[in-house]
Each structure stands twice: as structure tokens, then as C-alpha cells.
Symmetry: C2
Subunit: 275 residues, 2 copies
């Protein structure tokens, strides 16, 4: 695996290669979710590029950039094991040199769910992805369904700005008890980790209630809330939304059920699409 830290070096690499490139942008501290995207990208492309960059611009003022988990040596070992071709590992100064002043923002999609509690988050995401897409120039970029709103924002940005890139979404990878894999699960205490499986349990309950004939989102939300509040989790939101992320009163096929729950200082998100 080639490890590149300098933008101009990736650009030179890119000029000398005309085949398909699959790209997985990450913030590192990799888990099976990321690796499943690598496998997906390898099936569909000649080369696979991964980036690891803890993007300061997507952290809200109230969020702690410094304490985001990092383990670059372990990440490199994992990516070498699965035969990634190129790892792009830039510094914050390489990505945002002094005088940086351009941003990419969406006016509508980020106003809800994660965007509502994380001001500026999706502007940070859209800006860094625009840079990474221009640097790597991939054929396709791969994202996990776990971050459902991020997927919606990226797809909309790519459509609105006509990026010549396909966006491919990989399914959420879960632990044995259903907890969605996430880099920040590491912050859960053993007791919280055990209770955290309630996110997926509540989503599964929503799906079961719909299959049993219930379509009223308020009624389903009430039962999900009961289940979660029996644990120590604090609910940020439980949402039933359409593809544009507008809240809906009635569940149907394609409805996105998503939620955010805090355990101590750790805020977990998860979702399913009703089928």
C-alpha cells in the first residue's frame, strides 16, 4: 500500500492512471464497516484509495475534535491486510492552509436531524468531500448507510454540483447484538456498551410494528421511546422521514427511521429503511 501525505503527490499519481478508482473517505479508527466498503470498492474498480483525515471543519464548536479516537498504525495495518492500493493521509495544514476561505454548503437537508444539533457539520462534510473528490478524482465513492443524513447530503451535493462521480452506499455493519459499528463506540463504558444495543432493538421494533400493520409514527415512536428509556440512554430524536428527510406521519416502504441517543458523553446514531 502506498501512503501519501501530500496533495500534489496524489495528483501526480492520478495523472498517471486512467482506470477506475473506488474511494473511501474516512476519519480513521477503522472498523468492519469501513472494511466492508473497501471490499465493495475492490469488486467494482481497478484501484482502491482510502483517505484518513479527522476533518476539523465538520466538528461543531460544542464537539471535541481533540478527543476523536485515532490509531493510525492500527488503521494502516488493517488497510494493508485488505490490500488497499493507496492511503491518503493529509495533515490539517495540508488540507486547510492559511487563508483558506471557500466552503460548500446545502441550505435545506442539513437543517434537520444531525445537522440541527451539529451546526456547520454538513458544510464541513461537503467542503472536505469536494476537496477529496477533486484530489482523488474517483470513479465512485463509498459511504456507509449508518450515517443516513450524510449519505443524503453527499448524494444531493453530487447531483446539484454535477460531480462526475458515482455514490455507492454500503449497508450498516453491526456487532453480534445489533449495535451499529462506529469509531466512537470505543467511548462507551462496559455497562453503556451493553445497553447501547437498544438502538437497534428499537429500530427492529419499529419494523416489526409496521409489518404487523401499524403505520402511525407517533404510536411506533411511543413504543420505541419506552424501550430506550428502560435503559440509561437519553433520546436526542427519533425520526420518521421520507427521502428528502422531511418528517412523515405515516410509515411506508422506504421510510427512514433514524434516531440519536446519548449514553453519558457518547452520542450514538442508527437507522433503518423500512422495506
Amino acid at each position: 500500500m502506498k501512503i501519501v501525505k501530500i496533495i500534489s503527490e496524489i495528483e501526480n499519481l492520478r495523472k498517471s492512471f486512467a482506470g477506475t478508482i473506488g474511494f473511501i473517505p474516512t476519519m480513521g479508527y477503522l472498523h468492519e464497516g469501513h472494511l466492508s466498503l473497501v471490499k465493495l470498492a475492490q469488486k467494482e474498480n481497478a484501484l482502491v484509495f482510502v483517505s484518513i483525515f479527522v476533518n476539523p471543519k465538520q466538528f461543531s464548536p460544542n464537539e471535541d475534535l481533540q478527543s476523536y479516537p485515532r490509531d493510525t498504525d492500527r488503521d494502516i495495518a488493517l488497510l494493508e491486510q485488505v490490500n488497499v492500493d493507496v492511503l491518503f493521509l493529509p495533515t490539517p495544514t495540508e488540507m486547510y492552509p492559511e487563508g483558506f476561505e471557500t466552503e460548500v454548503s446545502l441550505s435545506n437537508l442539513p437543517q434537520r436531524l444531525e445537522g440541527a444539533v451539529r451546526p456547520g457539520h454538513f458544510t464541513g462534510v461537503a467542503t472536505v468531500l469536494t476537496k477529496l473528490f477533486h484530489i482523488v478524482q474517483p470513479t465512485a465513492a463509498y459511504f456507509g448507510q449508518k450515517d443516513a443524513q450524510q449519505v443524503a447530503v453527499v448524494k444531493k451535493m453530487v447531483k446539484d454540483l454535477n460531480f462526475p462521480i458515482k455514490i455507492i452506499v454500503g449497508e450498516t455493519i453491526r456487532e453480534a447484538d445489533g449495535l451499529a459499528m462506529s469509531s466512537i463506540n470505543v467511548f462507551l463504558s462496559p455497562a453503556e456498551r451493553k445497553e447501547a444495543s437498544v438502538l437497534y432493538q428499537s429500530l427492529s421494533l419499529a419494523e416489526k410494528m409496521f409489518k404487523d400493520g401499524e403505520t402511525d409514527t407517533e404510536k411506533i415512536k411511543t413504543e420505541m421511546t419506552k424501550l430506550i428509556e428502560a435503559k440509561s440512554g437519553m433520546i436526542d430524536y427519533i425520526s420518521f422521514a421520507n427521502e428528502q428527510l422531511d418528517e412523515v406521519a405515516e410509515v411506508k416502504n422506504g421510510t427512514l427511521v433514524s434516531l440519536a441517543v446519548r449514553f453519558g458523553k457518547t452520542r450514538l446514531i442508527d437507522n433503518i429503511v423500512i422495506k
Copy 2:
């Protein structure tokens, strides 16, 4: 010349061609300034693409999008004469379909000069150029020095967001009396047209004063103002700025002298770089 109105058709064209492409984005009503950029692009690229799109997003609320001059038949004839390969001629709906919500903005450069009197103008410029750059995927894009702040904004956007595109700047093309060519010169009355040469005269005066040893921008500005106010033009601004478009008190080599002057309803801009 191939005329294409649909984005997907340009994208298909683009996939089937791997050589160099020079791109001149325009708002139409073409003049010698545009054609000089075509010639520059032809020297350096295998194919030359031109776009004509009167971009609604770069008109401020106080500006009249409807009355912007248009003559597509004449433009097509001109571009065919100079052997342009592809003309991209999209409709506003093709570029901004319902639900469009993404924009590209700069926080610093647009706060001065043209940006200060035209709120949102450079966000509109940056957004449409991002779209056009992704659709056409040129090797190089060509802009005229007449719109000096636009040149600065485009260069900064390309640098900040790592667009894999070269930005080439063509010199300002002038009428015999020095008036910078511009699509909106058509709005000048015969009397105004005659007086409008004072913009270039005042810029030439600034250069002469500097060559004669004067470096104090206030003193030069006073003389330029006298010259312009002897005509019917109303001065919006006379600016002496460095490369970052910050105002400077002392002229030196590389200083951008720019001005905006209104004749009736028509607002003209021009500039020189002191050498």
C-alpha cells in the same frame, strides 16, 4: 460546431474524449474579448468548449437579469467562425432544477469591490463555475483580466477546493479609444459611449503618475477622480489593491488599480495591473 443543451450529453461527449480541453465559460453576447480567449485556448488544447449561460444566481436582487443582453444566433455564428468545437447552451432549469440547494462561497475575497455592491454575486459565480467545471472537466479554463475580482475569486476557489484545472487569464481587449470590451457597453448612449473612454484614461493616468515617481494612492486617486468627474460618470469606487485585494496606501509593481463608474443605468468596470 456541436451545440449541446443537455448536461448528460456533454458528460457523454466528455467520457469519449481523453485529450486536452480548453473551456471558456461566458454569459453570451460575445465580443472580441471572448474570442481572444478562444484563440488562446485553441493554441493550448486539442478541443475548445464554450458555454453560454446567463446565470441567474450571479445577479443581485437589485440587478436586472431579464435585461441582460442576449443574441444567441449572432453568438453561434461568431463561435462557428473561429472554429469552436463544442458550445454548451443550457437552460436555467437544466442548470438549477427544482430543489437545487447547494452553493459554493468564499468568505473573504467577495467582501470588497464588486462583491461589496453586488451581494451574492460571487457565490453565484463560484457555484455555476463549479457545476460547469464538473460537467465539462476541462484541462484549463480561460477568463478575461477585465473582471479582475472574478479572476481572483476563481483562482482562490480552484486552489482552496483543489479543482484539477488550470486557470488562464487573457488580457483585457479594448476598443480603439481604450474602452474595455464588455457585453453591457451596448447599453451606453452615443454620448455616454464617447465619455466612457475616461475609465481607461484615468487608469493610464495612474500608471503615468506612478512612472513619474508618485506612489501615494490618495494623490493618484484625486487626479483620477478629477478626470472622471469632468465627464458625466458617477464613481462607485477607485481601488488600489494587492493580490489579496486588500487596499494599499502605496502603489508598487503588481498593484491592481480598479474602478467602477456609472453612466446613467450602465455600470462599467475596468482595471490595470501596475508594471
